[in-house]
């Protein structure tokens, strides 16, 4: 495993700021779940966030499209600040795609309808055009033949690929992944990771909460370790895995890598 990954070289990080978090704090009741988070994500960056359960990593990315509300600090996404202003929230959500652990596909709609729903109703794209875009992305995640099926008829891996395609149909500038492979059977993880790797190579800005360290080594340009609501350490993948700085990172890596 050398760092001679040809694909990684093609992925370009720009100097254009995409997401900026400054002094972000969040509480669930009395529980202080995010503590003074500072994070800047450039356009084209691929960031992997890892950390023990309950460390606040999911909460952090859910704040970026305001599925969770932060109480102090500032979050800017592509120049739009997230406040109580509903207009701004909907603007940000239109530009930020999200893939969930449990897919969250709409079971009463076919795969194609799942993909065209938001383009038609949110972006007011004509139905014909939305369907063409949808078929394009279904081809990209390699399941065009499932377009007329319902999500309940697909395997977990297929459902997650549909969910990725659904987000891409909105042509987002950023993609958030919240443990996209944790609910999958082992033999289906690879097909989802392959789609994500291809997406990274196309230059998409991505933030992934995941424990797939192979994925982190392949595509991430930065790995962030969180624990108890704080960013403990961040580094390039090679440095992060081979030479972790803090004791907590070392302990965490030893727990997930040595089994």
């Amino acid at each position: 495993m050398s760092n001679a990954q040809p694909a990684a070289g093609e992925m370009i990080v720009t100097d254009e700021v995409m997401i900026q978090l400054a002094g972000v704090n969040k509480w669930y009741g009395q529980f202080h779940v995010l503590k003074e988070i500072d994070l800047t994500v450039m356009k084209g960056e691929r960031i992997v966030i890892c950390g023990p359960s309950g460390s606040g990593k999911s909460t952090l990315i859910r704040c970026i499209n305001r599925l969770e509300e932060h109480q102090r600090g500032k979050i800017m996404v592509d120049g739009v600040e997230l406040t109580h202003d509903l207009k701004n929230i909907e603007k940000v959500r239109r530009e930020v795609g999200m893939v969930f652990q449990h897919f969250n596909l709409f079971p009463h709609l076919t795969v194609l309808e799942n993909l065209t729903l938001a383009p038609i109703w949110v972006k007011k794209v004509p139905k014909r055009e939305a369907e063409e875009t949808a078929m394009h992305y279904l081809n990209r995640v390699k399941i065009p033949e499932q377009a007329q099926k319902y999500p309940g008829q697909l395997s977990g891996g297929q459902q997650q690929r549909v969910a990725i395609a659904r987000s891409l149909c909105m042509s987002p500038k950023v993609m958030l992944f919240d443990e996209p492979t944790s609910a999958l059977d082992p033999e289906m993880i690879k097909e989802v990771l392959d789609v994500m790797i291809e997406l990274a190579q196309s230059g998409m800005t991505m933030i992934c909460v995941t424990h797939e360290m192979g994925f982190a080594r392949t595509v991430a340009n930065r790995v962030i370790f969180m624990d108890r609501g704080e960013i403990i350490e961040q580094n390039e993948p090679e440095e992060f895995f081979n030479n972790p700085q803090s004791d907590r990172t070392k302990l965490f890596l030893s727990q997930i890598l040595h089994h």
């Binding site: 599925l67 938001a118 309940g152």
Partner: protein, 384 residues
């Protein structure tokens, strides 16, 4: 070991065999459901005995000994038939009573020469509902516009009068017609109102939430009879006499309020059955609140709630019989009044059995239709 089994069974290639005969077919079913142990066998035999005691006498009364029509000599000279003519012939049911009163049971006191208006309204209603629900009608837009915009006015003028048609006051409406009007309007309005109340009850806005909770808990905490009495007696006390609304209108408002509170709770149950991920999925796609509710949440919540919703429709249909206490002649009340007629004293049994049968047909049809819808909407979804 026989020669035919000499073929070697290769692991992974075993054929699927049919289950043993005792596990399938009629015998298997009976063994499982009727005679699986001595206690079940006892219950089965007891049930058969009870059915034997009840069914034959009832069939004798209602069918075999019943009188369906009189011989010509009984009704000669234009003499009105009456119950005594029946009892003179047989101890079975006197269905002549239902035949003699049939049109009144359907139209109440609606004038004979105007009844075509009710029939026309009913045909338009059935036609447009069929157009809305049938898969054979591809373009539902004109049907929907007709049904929701034009039909209500049309129905009002047809039934009540105006625009050149002679007026038929609601006091003359009755029978199955009145029952269907009350149940139909209750069903039609309680569903959208119930949806709004259910959303309001789950709203984050404190005032909306509070108002919806107050309304729902008030309407559910009071018996329908009380609401009908209040609509009938108390409402006019608060309104100036010239604004006094029609009694049927007041009853319709009362029934709709009552039904929508129950509907709201059934739909809230459906909403709570949805995983949070459905809301998050919709929000993350950038859908606004009303888009999310209309396109993602409600279609699923209503599907989950179908059995409860139809249950409400059925009990609403049966609750319409309570309007008798404020003096309206719905189907049950007009049948009861018919058997109090001096010619027909003693025909309560026939009247009630006929009523029960008609209500059962309506409600059973709704029940079957709901099962059909449930099957149709099933998309093989497994919940996480």
């Amino acid at each position: 070991m026989s020669d035919t089994s000499m073929e070697k069974v290769i692991p992974g290639n075993r054929p699927s065999l049919p289950p043993p005969v005792t596990e399938s077919g009629v015998l298997g079913w009976m063994r499982h459901n009727l005679f699986s142990n001595w206690w079940d066998t006892l219950l089965t035999l007891a049930a058969i005995y009870i059915l034997y005691l009840v069914i034959p006498p009832f069939l004798n009364w209602a069918v075999f000994d019943a009188i369906w029509q009189f011989s010509p000599e009984v009704v000669q000279d234009g003499k009105q038939p009456q119950f005594a003519d029946c009892t003179a012939i047989s101890s079975g049911a006197c269905w002549i009573f239902v035949r003699a009163r049939f049109w009144q049971f359907i139209f109440g006191f609606y004038p004979d020469e105007e009844r075509w208006r009710v029939v026309l309204t009913f045909i338009l209603l059935v036609g447009s509902v069929y157009g809305l629900l049938s898969q054979r009608v591809a373009n539902k837009k004109p049907v929907a516009i007709f049904f929701f915009v034009i039909f209500p006015f049309l129905a009002f003028f047809l039934l009540h009068g105006g625009l050149g048609l002679p007026e038929v006051p609601t006091s003359r409406w009755g029978g199955i017609m009145l029952t269907l009007i009350i149940a139909g309007i209750g069903i039609l309005f309680s569903l959208p109102l119930g949806i709004l109340l259910a959303l309001g009850r789950r709203s984050q806005l404190p005032i909306v939430h509070l108002l919806c909770v107050l309304f729902i808990e008030f309407a559910r905490g009071v018996p329908l009879v009380t609401i009908l009495f209040m609509a009938n007696i108390m409402l006019p006390l608060f309104l100036p006499p010239q604004f006094e609304p029609d009694i049927l209108l007041r009853i319709l408002v009362g029934v709709t309020m009552f039904a929508s509170a129950y509907m709201a709770e059934v739909i809230r149950g459906g909403l709570q059955a949805l995983p949070k991920g459905q809301y998050e999925g919709a929000m993350a796609m950038g859908l606004g609140y009303w888009q999310m509710m209309r396109l993602v949440i409600m279609p699923q919540a209503l599907r989950v709630a179908i059995p409860g919703i139809v249950n409400n429709f059925i009990s609403l249909t049966q609750d319409t019989t309570l309007v008798a206490i404020v003096g309206l002649y719905d189907f049950l009340n007009i049948v009861r009044a018919g058997s109090r007629d001096s010619n027909w004293i003693g025909t309560e049994m026939e009247g009630y059995v006929f009523c029960a049968f008609v209500y059962w047909v309506f409600c059973f049809a709704m029940s079957r239709y709901s099962m059909h819808i449930e099957r149709k909407l099933h998309t093989g979804h497994k919940r996480h």
